[in-house]
Symmetry: C2
Subunit: 428 residues, 2 copies
Amino acid sequence: METLIEMTRNGKHPEWLKKVAEYEGVDLNLLVKLIAKGEVVVPRNVLRDEDFQAKAIGRFMSTKVNANVGTSADYVNVEEEVEKARVAVKYGADAVMDLSTGGDLDYIRRRIMEAVNVPFGTVPIYQAVREKNVEDLSEDDFFRVVEKHAKDGVDFMTIHAGVNKMSLERLKRSKRLMGIVSRGGSIIAKWIETTGEENPYYKDFDYLLEILKEYDVTISLGDAFRPGCIADASDRAKFTEFIILGELVEKCREAGVQAMVEGPGHVPIDEIETSVKAMKFVTKNAPLYLLGPLVTDIAAGYDHIAAAIGAAIAGMHGADFICYVTPSEHLALPTVEDVREGVIAAKIAAHAADLVKEGQRERARKRDYEMSVARKNLDWSRQFELSIDPEKAMEVHSRRKSKGEACSMCGDLCAIKISREVLEKAKD
Amino acid sequence: METLIEMTRNGKHPEWLKKVAEYEGVDLNLLVKLIAKGEVVVPRNVLRDEDFQAKAIGRFMSTKVNANVGTSADYVNVEEEVEKARVAVKYGADAVMDLSTGGDLDYIRRRIMEAVNVPFGTVPIYQAVREKNVEDLSEDDFFRVVEKHAKDGVDFMTIHAGVNKMSLERLKRSKRLMGIVSRGGSIIAKWIETTGEENPYYKDFDYLLEILKEYDVTISLGDAFRPGCIADASDRAKFTEFIILGELVEKCREAGVQAMVEGPGHVPIDEIETSVKAMKFVTKNAPLYLLGPLVTDIAAGYDHIAAAIGAAIAGMHGADFICYVTPSEHLALPTVEDVREGVIAAKIAAHAADLVKEGQRERARKRDYEMSVARKNLDWSRQFELSIDPEKAMEVHSRRKSKGEACSMCGDLCAIKISREVLEKAKD
C-alpha cells in the first residue's frame, strides 16, 4: 500500500483528495505537490471511509483549529467528553484530540471517535503510563500503544521523539524556571532518567515510522520542551528540540510518513515571529501545530484570550494549525462551555491569520466583506448568519433591542445611518 | 496659570506628579521631559484635588486601558452606568469615558464622575446633538458643550477636529464600503454637508484650545475616519486624517495643551504595525489612543477577543492607550458583565504589550515571573493573587478540584510535578 505522501510523489492522488482541495479553495495539483514536499499534511488513517472529513494543514491552506478533550484521573465522565468533542466540532474545530488519562481509555477513545468525523489525534504515551509506572515501562510498551491507536483508526499522534539524552542535557544546562510543562515530555524525561536508556521513540524512530506507515498515520512531533512561562521563552532547550524535530521530519519524509511539528508554549509577543520562522526553517516548512502561544503567564481564567493573541501573531508568521486553549487552562479540566469559548477564540485567531495568509487571503476576506455589507445595511439576520457564532451574536443583540433599526449601543445616533445619509446625499 | 505642559517646559512639576512617576516606575525627570515634549500626557483637569489618581499615557509608560460607559437613547439606566464605571475600575481600567446619549446628560456625567477617581473623558458633541438637530447647531454650540464639560472637571475630551472639507473630500474619493463609523465623525460630516460651512473645531481650533487650556483639559484628537471594516483598512481617508491630526498636535503643543491622537478601527493584523508607526511619525510621537483595532469583522459577540489581538499587536508597535471593546460591540449597549469581560481582555493585551515595551518590560515581567514560581510550586492561593482576575481564577479552579495538589486537568500526571522530580533529582 502506498501512503498519501508516496502517492502524491508519484503524481497520483486518492479520489477523496478532490474534496479536500475544494474545501480549501486551492488547485488540486498544487495540493498534491505540497503534500509530496511535506509542506502540507492531510491526516487520515487508512481505515477511514468516504464520509470522513479530511482536512489539509500547512502552507497555503486555511489555518486549522484543534480542540483537546478527555478525562483526567480526577474527572471521568465519558459522555461529557463526547459532548465536548461534539460542541468543539459544532463551533468549528477542524480536529479533535483525545488526551484522556482517567477511566477506560480504550472505550473512551472509541466513543469519542464515533461521535465526530474530523481528524482525530491522541498521545499514546498517556495510555502506556496508565498501565504501568513510568519506570516500569518496557521499550515495547512505547510502541504497543501506538499500534493499538493506529488500529483504532486514529489519524494523527503526538510523539515526543525530540526528547533524548542530548536534548535533555541541553535542557538541564538551560536552567529553566519551569522545567518541562509537556505531560508526555515529562514522562519520557523521567523514563530516560530512571532507566538510563535512550528514548525509544528517538532510538527506534524507524520502527515507529513502520507502524505509523502501515495505517498512514500522520506524526505530530511533540514539543516536549516548549517553554512553560515567559521567563523560559526562546531558550536554548527549545531551539535544541526544534533542531532534533527538523532532523526527524526529514526521516519521516524519506519513509513516506506525513509529519507536522508542534511549537511553543509561552512566548512574549515580540518573540513569536522568530520562533515560528525558526521552526519553519529548521523543519524545511513542515506544517506547524501551535499550542497558544500564550503571551503572558497571568491570564489564568482567560487564557483563551492570551492564546488567541499569540495564535493570531503566530498564524501571521506561518503557523498552520492552532491548538485551542480554554478559560480553564492551568486551573482545571474544562467544562463544555469552556470548550465552546476556547474553540471560538481560536477560530477568531485562525480567521484573523487567514485574512493575511498567502493562498487564503481573498477567500477569507469575502466573508468579512459580506459581513460589512450586512452591517452597512443594518441587516441583522444576515449579520448573525455571517458571525463566527450566530447564536451568541443573536443572543447579545436581542438582550437589549433598539426601538429603531440600529442597535441599542448608539440608537438613533448610529454612525452608519448618519454616514450613509451624508455620503449618499453627496453622490447625488 | 501654567498648564502641565508649560510647567514641565520650564523644568517644573506639580507635587502630585511624583506619585504618577512612582506608579509608572520611571524617573520623575524623565517623565517631566516626556510631558514637555508632548510624548506623554497626564490628563488631569485643574479642578481635580489631591485624591485624584492621575495616570501617565505615552512613551515608556505602562499601556493604559479605557472603558467606555454611558446611556443610549434606547437604554437609560443611570445607576447601571455608574456600576459599569465602578466595575471597570475594579478590574483595572485606568480611565473611563462617559459616552451617554440618552437621559439627563449633565446629571449622568456628574454621577459617573463622582463614582470613580480616574481620568475621565467625554465626547462633548454628543451632548450638543441631543439639544438640537445636527443641521441646527450653531458654531457656538460646538464650544459651549466643551466649556461645560471642562467646568465639570472632565480630564480629556474627544474632539473630531480632523474632519474638514478637505479630508471629507478625500474620504468621498476613497469610495469606502462603510463610510464613517465614528459617531462624532458622522455628526460633524453631516453638519459640514448640510451647512456648507467648515467644521468649527477645525476652523476655530485656537479658540477650542483656549477653552481647554483654562482647565488644562487634554485633547484626544478623534479618529472620525477610522476604517469600520477590513475592506476599508489603511485607505487614503485614514491617512489623510492622520496628517491633519499631526498638524493639530503641533498646534496643541504650541498652545500648551496636552494632546493624544486616536487611531483605527478595523485593521488586518499585518497592517497594524504600519498604521501605528505612521501615526507616531506624523504626530511626532504623540500618545496613541486605539479603539481595538479589530482584526476581523465577523467576531460579533466576541469582539473583545478580536480587539485584544489587535491591541496587543498595536501595543507592541507603539500604541499607548487601549480603548476596551466589549462582547456587545456592534450588537447592543453592553451589560455590567460585558464591561468586566471587555476590561479584562484589554488588560491582557496591555500587559502582553508591556512585557515587551521599552521602559516597562522589566517591571511587567516581574509579575509573570512570580506567577511562574507560584505555578511551579503549585501554590494556588499565590497564583490566584497574581492572576489578572483573582475571583475568576479561583472560581474556575474550585469548580473542579483535584484530589491531589495539582489541578484537575492533569491530576497525578501533572508535568510540573514530574518534571520537578526529574530535574531536581538530576541536580543531586
